[in-house]
Symmetry: C2
Subunit: 600 residues, 2 copies
Amino acid sequence: MFQTFETTSNPAAGAARLAMLRAELARRGLDGFLIPRADAYQGEYVAPRDERLQWLTGFTGSAGFCVVLPDVAGVFIDGRYRTQVKSQVDLARFTPVNWPETWPGDWIAGHLDRGTIGFDPWLHSEDEIARLKETAGSGITLLPVDGNPVDAIWQDQPGPPQGRAFAHPVALAGESGAAKRARLAAVLRAEGQHAAVLTLPDSLCWLLNIRGADVPRNPVLHGYGILHDDARVSLFADPAKFDAATRAHLGPEVALAPPDAFPAALDALTGPVRLDRSFAPVALRQRLEAAGIAIVWGDDPCRLPKACKTEAEIAATRGAHLRDGAAMVEFLCWLDTEAPKARLTEIDVVRALEGFRRATNALHDISFDTICGAGPHGAVIHYRVTEGTNRRLGRDELLLVDSGGQYVDGTTDITRTIALGDPGDQARMAFTRVLQGMIAISRARFPRGLAGRDLDPLARAALWLAGQDYDHGTGHGVGAFLSVHEGPQRISRLSEVPLEPGMILSNEPGYYREGQFGIRIENLIVVQAAPDLPGGDDRRQYCFETLTFVPIDRRLIDVAMLSPGERTWLNAYHAETLAKLSPRLSAGARAWLEQAAAPL
Amino acid sequence: MFQTFETTSNPAAGAARLAMLRAELARRGLDGFLIPRADAYQGEYVAPRDERLQWLTGFTGSAGFCVVLPDVAGVFIDGRYRTQVKSQVDLARFTPVNWPETWPGDWIAGHLDRGTIGFDPWLHSEDEIARLKETAGSGITLLPVDGNPVDAIWQDQPGPPQGRAFAHPVALAGESGAAKRARLAAVLRAEGQHAAVLTLPDSLCWLLNIRGADVPRNPVLHGYGILHDDARVSLFADPAKFDAATRAHLGPEVALAPPDAFPAALDALTGPVRLDRSFAPVALRQRLEAAGIAIVWGDDPCRLPKACKTEAEIAATRGAHLRDGAAMVEFLCWLDTEAPKARLTEIDVVRALEGFRRATNALHDISFDTICGAGPHGAVIHYRVTEGTNRRLGRDELLLVDSGGQYVDGTTDITRTIALGDPGDQARMAFTRVLQGMIAISRARFPRGLAGRDLDPLARAALWLAGQDYDHGTGHGVGAFLSVHEGPQRISRLSEVPLEPGMILSNEPGYYREGQFGIRIENLIVVQAAPDLPGGDDRRQYCFETLTFVPIDRRLIDVAMLSPGERTWLNAYHAETLAKLSPRLSAGARAWLEQAAAPL
């Protein structure tokens, strides 16, 4: 099993560790310190040595941070973690703070008039510190410190991850690393920049056509890179992670050096050097400034090209989705057989699903810890079942299962909401509205130049009409055997990035009724140039190709609510699912799929 | 008749006038000059004395400008006027330039390396000149000049308009002028501004609860105002326009002075003074700067409050729409009787429609020149019929009629597209898609904080699915017995202004097939707080109340394309139309409406 179910939090250790940290801060003349969840790569998953927030506070969420002051320590958590944090931290020592409703700067101003608050300049981006400075009072100094004070007191802190890097073949990538570097170097030259510093692990892996194993779930390497304007790359990562074959794959234009050579390499640059304000650690700006090198703030040059997948990446991803879809259908068939016996728990379901994916003999990892919420647990948007929360599947309720796989040919992410018995009309009507939103995105055609923001309302309009909505984006970017959450593409009210061909996105509207049920339906889709239509204008439009083929629970659809076009789309989707997956299924699953994909 | 049908353009005069202007420019040492359509109030309609662009070039469109250089004179026109301009200007002297595809600065750079181009600082906003300077070459100087050179050579130029101002009663406005001024003055004080200069006629009329008659179609006064931070207003307009009753209505806090007292009044201000970059003439900035008065760029303080109508304005507007709707139904009934006789022309239709509105005995003016396009003329988005273009209504085609009335209780704007015989399946399917978009906006509920940009895609999604779209916004703001086009509210890809209760907007998706037909369906709607729904979340949403009640041509609807919700909405709309209008109709029109509003 990749996924584990233990309760990893240890609130009891918090008091002593907090006292040690305050002593360490006092020794350094600091009044406070920031402890983010993030590591030096701003990734969603961090290595054990970077779990400083969890080690200090006990909080295990995937986002949040702690601000330690002399008399109070605030743990800032967003809406997903309001309940969880209360059971994970020692509430006598740590104060949960609702974020972003309360800004850390404002909160600090409420507890401290004057003082110096330290931060580790490797763990915060320029943007993040700038926002903090804007709201903190004028008596507060934010001071970057050398050496993280948490590391100084964390005696059994693990070492850096040592995952092996490996080649990602050009047959899957669709473009050689040399070709990628050549076109990005041309961009740097055109903009008069001599180099760009790359700090995002998926950018680096994409540019070099390699993958790594330094964190769970995302097959990335921890390291930094410098892309020079002559298309050479200096790569700073532990050479022990690279075997001879992988070194050969990097090619002669990529110079591998150990991480401790990185600062001197920065000093040796001649500017201007491009840095990304949103992701590059403050420490890089400090180092370049100290060396007198001009900085140009600009986007990580790999981020947008990486998001626009090649034909080869899309073709490979289609294959990964069919493999994953067949595993999902085996799972759904099994679930329909086992659930009525009323013995299954959420953990049983997660185990079974991972088993069906493993049975493909191609599973590299799961792409994130499966979210499996029965009944009221479905309403906890990022629910992760543990032995402590595990729930037996009930009768006449909904089961929400959000999961995915990492395969060398693609990354999947799929949510299905399944009827256990008869969950009632309220759930059925809400499910149908969520489905209408999901179909609206799936079948959308739209003018070139629109951003995710412009399409987001199409996914919500049916829910809005019923006075309902969901408090998350409609879709996130997805990598090609890379991070299951990647930027810059999104379908979200916040996203102004124009959608471009090759961008893979999730399409996952939902609806949540706290304490009762949760609904989410998710397929992955890829932006494509839309084919001309008879009777259509001469307009160059885009559309989405659906990548995910797994049936949507017909028992939860109120057919009378659907428009003719919605019904046609769903029947065509189910027919295509049946045609694509049948050859890959066991006899039992094939029979199950035939009824699950029957026309409405 | 308000509307006239003559061809007002005189291309033959252009050559001599252009030569005179170039001589005048040479006398002043200028290499070129800008002649905008706009007047000193940046209004959509201008007085005869401000028709400088038409006088010089012959071009009569509602937007555009001319750039006169030594060897070339460019007439910049947008997509609506590409054809029209060619028949209106002397093409040997004037060169049509596609705008905004070609920026005037770039165009100037292509024709003139170095030189001084004059402009009248009363006719251009700060924003407009700034944009021009950005693109013009470094050898080009843009020079504000005293005294417009066109006025200097235009011997029979009319004088300024002398329309009488009149009171707009508080019973219709819902808030006294004094109360409006008090709340805006409080805003100025809170922002540390001593005064705001008001240059938009509808802002001034709204603030003072008056109306005017200085331009056609929009009941506005030409004048400038200074709102002081103590809630007094200095009003600069021809005192002859004000009779004793209107002066009394202004009240003691409003000091009326002739326009030539305005510059000295500016000099006497103590800053900071608020000016709107988008609308205030450059001349104001010059004058204040010369007097050493600090300027703060900010929105015209009346614009947003004016857009959010009071309960009284909304109630009055509802009444205006029922009156106007009854006139429209009489018209549509007449049209259905007369059109099959195959004798009607577009001008006959416009005359008849204005007649039905006049028969209400309440018509103050039409709110714009009626757009009445039969067959292929329907595809000309801003078609204005003249004796030269007048077309006989054909068989088996569409007729598009976009019109409105100015009543003292409200401004209307409605488009209906009518079947003349059987216009065919392509037209019927496109009509149905346009209707689906119009219904999507009409019945939308949406979260507070969304802008028109966020809703615009809902109006287009059905067309997009067929590879179709329309090249105009979905909706514009509408005033309350004020301008039929008002800001800042819009439903458009370009509008980031959050929608707020009381904003009146048009909802007018369309579809146009050049040379064949045009379709547009338009109702006015007003933003309201949405009522709670059973089963809905505890979310504060907004919705639109429909103001326009006139049937939509059922003969053009492909019922099989509609969703259950769309069909329910349309039947409810028609039932409400029948209930509201029947008591106001002639017997013949009532019978006609009963079949036109029958359920689908």
